[in-house]
């Protein structure tokens, strides 16, 4: 790369210049946090030397294929496996009965929650098309699929419960006997006796219905696992593409009735998860059960069709809203009745209450809504179960709040930014206690909104909207928060039987002065090997190159909860910072002894321990490490030898915030909508690595645009999935995603070890609302009032032709 090319690629050039600039300042120690350090993971990923489950060679392993339900709902009357068993290369054909009817049950300790059992293989009922019924084990996947074709399953079909409209209908068969009305969770989270009065006398009351389509996370690597029993370790080893190794271990232990020690779960490189892999898959536990039973390795690689129609979905929700405003456009009250189509089963261990709980609790967002009441229900249906997909209900609640802002602004003749400004929690409101019982720590809610509006102005979008070239253009600006890094106390309020929150890290320095950090979090694309190293490097004053993160192995790390809910850098990285500080204390203590000084006078600077004020009296950290390991006889006897420390973190959960703006173009000739430019103002506290944060934001925005315009899992009236390939389930490609400009604000968080807040989901959360707002703006002259996603070309044409129904059809087919 010549100098000119380098200059035109700021992202590539910046890291070195930033670090070099700091290195030339002798008085200022290097600080790695805040640097655009290139990702440690990238060279191996880009060169194809990453190690994903399917890269693990094992020519002797059996392959698993599943016979899946061809119908959405029915009763199994007969399963015939004889033909399949006799086929060449087939090792076993197993039903639920053959495995002893193992199952998983997710439990919330709440009266309003109905626990339901999810059998690993369907037992007597099938509850969605694609549900696994029979496991076929063969010498390879081809033969396994051949045999699966020859398993005969007789099903007495029943009419399915599919759409939001079907939910709770008494003329349709009950899905779970435990929940005759189909309601698996019914949460009346907040009530306010004065809300009716307030809404009754408000100058403006909006009664609206908002809907969002069922989507799926579609990670690049679908689910996959390899299970093997190892006699030497008396242990089942499951290598699995997961976000939550310890939770998979617990799921296997509970479903198969074995102690946790007898199960080791390893997540090697994982090609994305987005929540789809933060729950335990039935197929993975079946693979474990078969490996234990047969004492033989068995592997399963989900194909894309299975991934789309038979893994986990999310976001199929409806919000019935009453919102009251005063004459100035300020909220006086908000009432929400939220219904979530959670699919056929409650996923383990988070349960089906994740979406309803999040929706009811965090609907108000960055706005002061006055009086507030919310009811949120989760209904069972004959579609695949839902998992906590990136953002979990917040893409929907932000869409609801931002549409309410737009609608109120329009009704009252207010500017869309001004009405948001009036309703936003102000800087002097912090700490702000919301009507939802949450205390908001400081964020840059107003500043982000103002900066976003200013950037939109600078980008010349308004001038673009005036162009007369046959295209219709519109702008959406949205403002929102994203609660992240929920610790034990906050998660405990959900009343899950298994309550996540804390993390424990170990930091260990070896005799050469290199460091291994462990964490129970489990990065799967987020660059944790880089960012954790940056955090620890600053504490120990060594280069991040000398720090290696070990994660994703239940035998290597302490018990931990995994990577989800934007928790890992804050909680896992926080626990690593705590452990590193303890290790730094140990280094100072040994250095003090070797340099004949007080530990409090020792400072760690640039790979050395030195006496404060006498920098000539110093040792390299390598010398200290070698001495501790090999020459401890020269040191005083300590209670514990070696350089090892342990730390934990368990913060309460904190709000990142962001403002997004989208510019869209609509072609009236085709109904096509394109997002042509996009601006993000992001505040996630202290930014550990801006390049990684930018990547998270941009990827999230892409997923959000996907669910706004392109993606929806569609079903026929019989419950047959219609979107079983990437031809029909339209994940947007690079051609459909615009440039995304990212600007950072930094409101450091005093509740976390590093000042950082989580930020893994914000892009996904803001984009659907921004795009929908922009679409309605583009069609403002046609009285557009679209309150659903995804918005398809035909929907936009209906607005242009004046035949739109803002609440839309419910089912595509």
């Amino acid at each position: 790369m010549n100098a000119e090319q380098a200059a035109s690629q700021p992202d590539a050039a910046e890291p070195n210049t930033a670090i070099d600039a700091q290195a030339t300042e002798p008085d200022k120690p290097k600080r790695w946090v805040g640097n655009r350090l290139p990702r440690r993971e990238d060279p191996r990923m880009l060169r194809g030397s990453g190690r994903f489950v399917d890269d693990i060679p094992d020519p002797h392993a059996y392959h698993l294929a599943f016979v899946r339900s061809p119908v959405a709902s029915g009763r199994i009357t007969e399963i015939l496996t004889e033909d399949a068993i006799s086929m060449p290369g087939v090792v076993a054909v197993l039903t639920s009965a053959d495995l002893g009817h193992p199952s998983l049950t997710a439990v919330l300790e709440r009266e309003e929650f109905v626990p339901t059992t999810m059998p690993l293989l369907a037992k007597d009922r099938v509850r969605y098309a694609g549900e696994p019924i029979v496991a076929v084990v063969a010498e390879n996947r081809y033969l396994a699929e051949d045999a699966a074709d020859n398993v005969w399953v007789e099903i007495e079909e029943m009419p399915p419960v599919l759409s939001l409209e079907d939910l709770g209908r008494s003329d349709l068969p009950v899905i779970h006997d435990e929940a005759p009305d189909g309601v698996l969770v019914d949460l009346q989270m907040f009530t306010d006796d004065l809300l009716d009065d307030v809404l009754g006398s408000a100058p403006l009351v909006l009664e609206e219905i908002f809907r969002s389509g069922r989507v799926t996370a579609a990670p690049m690597e679908s689910r996959t696992c390899r299970a093997d029993w190892r006699d030497r370790d008396e242990q089942l080893v499951l290598e699995v593409s997961t976000q939550v190794p310890h939770q998979v271990r617990s799921g296997i232990a509970q479903a198969l009735g074995v102690p946790e020690r007898k199960v080791r779960v390893i997540a090697p490189d994982v090609g994305g998860g987005f929540g789809l892999k933060c729950v335990v898959g039935r197929e993975e536990v079946v693979a474990a059960a078969i490996a234990m039973r047969m004492r033989h390795a068995v592997r399963w690689s989900e194909d894309r069709q299975e991934n789309l129609i038979a893994s986990f979905h999310g976001r199929e929700q409806e919000y019935r809203i009453r919102a009251g405003f005063d004459d100035e456009g300020r909220f006086v009250g908000l009432e929400a009745d939220i219904r979530c189509n959670i699919g056929a089963y409650s996923v383990y261990p988070f349960s089906c209450a994740v979406e309803p709980l999040m929706a009811a609790t965090e609907l108000p967002g960055v706005y002061k809504v006055g009086r507030y009441a919310a009811r949120a229900r989760g209904f069972a249906s004959n579609k695949p179960p839902t998992a906590p997909y990136r953002g979990v209900s917040r893409p929907q609640i932000v869409l609801v709040m931002e549409r309410l802002m737009d609608k109120a602004a329009r009704s009252l003749g207010l500017d869309r930014v001004e009405i948001r400004r009036r309703n936003t929690i102000q800087p002097d409101d912090f700490p702000y206690l919301g009507p939802n019982g949450i205390t908001y720590e400081p964020g840059s809610y107003v500043e982000a909104l103002e900066l976003c509006a200013a950037e939109v102005g600078k980008a010349g979008w308004r001038e673009q909207c005036e162009r007369q070239d046959g295209l219709l253009r519109g702008i959406g600006i949205v403002n929102f928060s994203e609660r992240t890094a929920y610790g034990t106390a906050t998660m405990g309020m959900r009343k899950m039987q298994m309550t996540p929150g804390f993390e424990v890290s170990h930091v260990r320095m070896d005799a050469s002065g290199d460091v291994v950090v462990t964490s129970g979090t489990c990065g799967h694309g987020q660059g944790h090997e880089t960012t954790f190293a940056q955090i620890v490097a600053d504490v120990l004053a060594i280069s991040p190159d000398r720090i290696k993160l070990r994660q994703g192995d239940t035998d290597v790390t302490s018990f931990g909860w995994g990577t989800f809910a934007s928790r890992s850098l804050v909680i896992g990285g926080g626990s690593a910072a705590v452990a590193a500080r303890r290790l730094a204390d140990q280094l100072r203590e040994v250095a003090a002894e070797m340099l004949e000084a007080e530990p409090t006078d020792i400072e760690l600077v640039d790979g050395h321990a030195q006496v404060r004020g006498a920098p000539d009296a110093r040792l390299t950290i390598d010398e200290i490490a070698a001495t501790v390991h090999f020459r401890s006889h020269t040191l005083v006897q300590r209670e514990e030898q070696l350089l090892e420390a342990r730390g934990s973190a368990d913060p309460p959960g904190m709000f990142s915030n962001a403002a997004h703006a989208a510019l869209v173009e609509v072609d009236p000739g085709t109904g096509d909508a394109q997002v042509v430019d996009y601006i993000v103002i992001e505040d996630c506290g202290v930014v550990v690595n801006p390049m990684i944060v930018d990547g998270q934001v941009r990827g999230g925005v892409a997923q959000g645009i996907g669910s706004a315009l392109y993606e929806e899992m569609s079903y026929s009236p019989e419950g047959q999935p219609l979107t079983g390939t990437f031809m029909d389930y339209m994940v947007p490609t690079a051609s459909e995603i615009p440039r995304v400009a990212v600007h950072h604000l930094e409101t450091p968080c005093d509740q976390t070890e590093t000042g950082a807040k989580g930020m893994g989901e914000g892009g996904t959360i803001g984009a659907p609302a921004a795009v929908l707002s922009a679409l309605n703006d583009a069609l403002r002259d046609y009285d557009a009032d679209i309150d659903f996603v995804p918005v398809r070309p035909a929907d936009l044409l209906a607005v242009l032709e004046g035949t739109s129904n803002s609440e839309r059809r419910l089912e595509t087919a």
Binding site: Y142, D303, G671, P732, T733
Partner: protein, 289 residues
Amino acid sequence: MKPASFEYHRAYTPEEVVEVLTELGEDAKILAGGQSLAPMMNFRLARPSALVDVNTVAGLDYIRREGDELCVGALTRHRTLEISIADDVRDGFGLLPRAARWIGHYPIRSRGTVGGSIAHSDPTAEWCLMARLYDAQVVVLGPDGRRAIPSEDWFTGFLTTASGPDEMVVETRFGRPRAHGALTEYARRRGDFAIAAAAVAFDVVDGRCHDVSIVLGGVANEPLRLPEAEAIVEGAAPEEDTWTAAARSAAAAIRPGSDLNGDDHYRRHLVDTLTRRAFAEALETGNSR
């Protein structure tokens, strides 16, 4: 998503292909670029008992002019036509390279073949639309030798053709070269199958349109020629009003049906737009002829 078991044969001459096909019977399929067949086999929607790989057949990768006809060998990859700047192509068939750009993505264009696309006869396939637009002859080789089938007889329904099970497409002969041609498509994402497509070709003589063809894709089981709309443009001035009248006629002539991408009404609207845009683009981008 693994195919059911099948026999694999490889052939080196067109005659050998026919011989093997005759021997294997109608459950055997020709494997050319494999861009449609392989996915269908992986989904087990197609379960041929045998594949005859023709990628090793020599002499079927060519583009040559014979008088007014542009003859394209069956094993010519999409990409070859896409990047062709030969005068033989530019003179009267300049639309073909531009049409190729609408085909899928780069890897698909590099691998897929013109003959394979014609044989598969997807109603949105660019070469099928071009075959109808330029009244192509599809040349097949069978046990009884070669025969040429006019494109209007070639397409016999959804993914079905006039070819026999023991015949192989060896050449497509595009005819009726014209100065103006355009293909417009609409899909949600770049590279997807078109929800609808419109192709037009015509000459302009003394300020009037002549020799007009209009073909639509994605609105019926096969590429659809529109004689009534063609008649509207024939002899009319090449201007917006003409295009509008033709587009309206095109939209009225079809019964496209509904699917996930939109209903009947939406597809008519698309066809109206695409037809107008195809004429406008064709007028602007005349060939060197």
